[in-house]
């Protein structure tokens, strides 16, 4: 009985071994690179989000990044200049947009009182309408807004109050979604800043 099972299955078993070895090799060779890609996606944006880029596109302050985390695994990236002075925070915010989830990176000053930048990490909004949240003019409206009060996305034009951001015409839901995600993430971060501990 056993012989007949083995006789039938030896090919599958040996193929599984060979494929397993191949996959282990791929994992060993590439996992470091994939992990770097994931980190760099955020790291590469930090100078832009904290306004450390001059008009020629050069980085004005060399920064190192410290990663902080809360006990429930929310991450905050703190940029530190060579003198050990904190330059600012970068946090991630996620929420539902018009089509699918929107992932944002938000730059904040060291005290988390002013928004210094906004970057759209991932979105699948309607092309030519909702995905105009990627455009510079829309994102730059958030820069300099008071993080303690939160932003208000409005369809009125021109915007009246200090903390107002003009919505994209034809894409109000996407614009509102971005505003909601920013507000929720900043509020959460400001409330939980005390829980942060340095990772590694």
């Amino acid at each position: 009985m056993k012989d007949s099972y083995l006789g039938q299955a030896w090919l599958v078993l040996s193929l599984a071994l060979v494929f397993g070895a191949a996959l282990a090799g791929v994992q060993a060779g590439l996992s470091g690179r994939i992990a770097d890609n994931k980190l760099n996606e955020t790291y590469d944006q930090i100078p832009y989000l904290l306004d450390l880029i001059d008009d020629d596109g050069n980085v004005t302050v060399e920064i190192t990044v410290k990663i902080w985390r809360t006990p429930d695994d929310k991450l905050a990236y703190q940029a530190v200049d060579p003198n050990g002075q904190a330059v600012g925070w970068v946090i991630k915010g996620v929420g539902p947009g018009f089509q699918d989830r929107i992932e944002l990176l938000i730059g904040l000053d060291p005290e988390a009182e002013t928004i210094t930048g906004l970057f759209v990490l991932d979105q699948k909004e309607t092309p030519a309408l909702g995905n105009r949240i990627l455009e510079d003019w829309f994102r730059e409206q958030f820069v300099g807004k008071d993080a303690t009060k939160g932003v208000v996305v409005t369809r009125a034009s021109p915007v009246a109050a200090d903390n107002e951001v003009g919505a994209i015409s034809g894409a109000t839901i996407s614009s509102l979604a971005v505003g909601d995600i920013v507000n929720a993430a900043v509020k959460d971060f400001r409330a939980r800043k005390g829980d942060l501990e340095l990772k590694d």
């Binding site: 690179r33 994939i34 309607t126 092309p127 309408l129």
Partner: protein, 212 residues
């Protein structure tokens, strides 16, 4: 088992039009519709399918004498799943943005009927040469089909082709709908109709007109 199927070259040419996987066999519809919003994504997808199909066909063909009939599907699936995992990791390591854009559609190659179908129809019956030519032919056919759909959708939907602007936004109101799901269905529907119309026997058609 002798080589009793079509010759390698015939296998190769068959894949491109007479047995085109998308337009003729209606296989692999999921990536055909999902990743043809722009040329870059469509070509990356075709390359991944080509890699998996060639590897799976070669392995199946080289072990075809050892296969037990009732275990063959299991072996095919194991082989395909392994190579899809490899393709997925390589993309994530070297083309990270593209791998994010393609998302679940790379692992969904595993259940893409084209590859299992080629393993079953060709590679498990014929030698290495025929299997390799078959895989290349079929995947070129698949790539051409994807390219035709992606060309229409990207040019009409974004005014670009491979990211190069062809239709300036100043006079072309981009048809955003073309890069959305409905555009995919409608484009493929019309292209399929077009291919069928082109390959309809001509004589019959003129006879139909002549009745009036």
């Amino acid at each position: 088992m002798a080589n009793d199927g079509p010759a390698p070259l015939e296998r190769f040419l068959n894949g491109i039009l007479p047995e085109n996987p998308v337009y003729r066999q209606l296989l692999g519809m999921c990536p055909t519709l999902a990743v043809t919003g722009n040329m870059k994504a469509a070509m990356t997808m075709s390359a991944a399918v080509m890699f998996v199909m060639i590897c799976a066909n070669l392995i199946t063909s080289s072990i075809r004498h050892l296969l037990k009939p009732h275990l063959r599907i299991l072996v095919f699936v194991l082989t395909i799943a392994t190579f899809v995992t490899i393709a997925d990791r390589v993309l994530a390591a070297y083309l990270y943005q593209m791998s994010k854009e393609l998302g679940p559609y790379i692992p969904l190659i595993i259940v893409n009927c084209i590859i299992i179908c080629r393993c079953e129809v060709c590679a498990s019956r014929q030698g290495l040469g025929a299997a390799a030519f078959d895989a290349v032919g079929q995947s070129i056919g698949f790539a051409l089909a994807l390219a035709s759909i992606a060309t229409v959708r990207e040019i009409l939907g974004a005014g670009t082709w491979f990211g190069i602007t062809l239709l300036s936004e100043s006079w072309w109101p981009v048809w955003g709908i073309m890069v959305l799901p409905p555009g995919a269905f409608i484009t493929l529907g019309f292209l399929l109709g077009g291919v069928n119309w082109l390959s309809m026997p001509r004589g019959k058609k003129s006879a139909g007109c002549g009745v009036r």
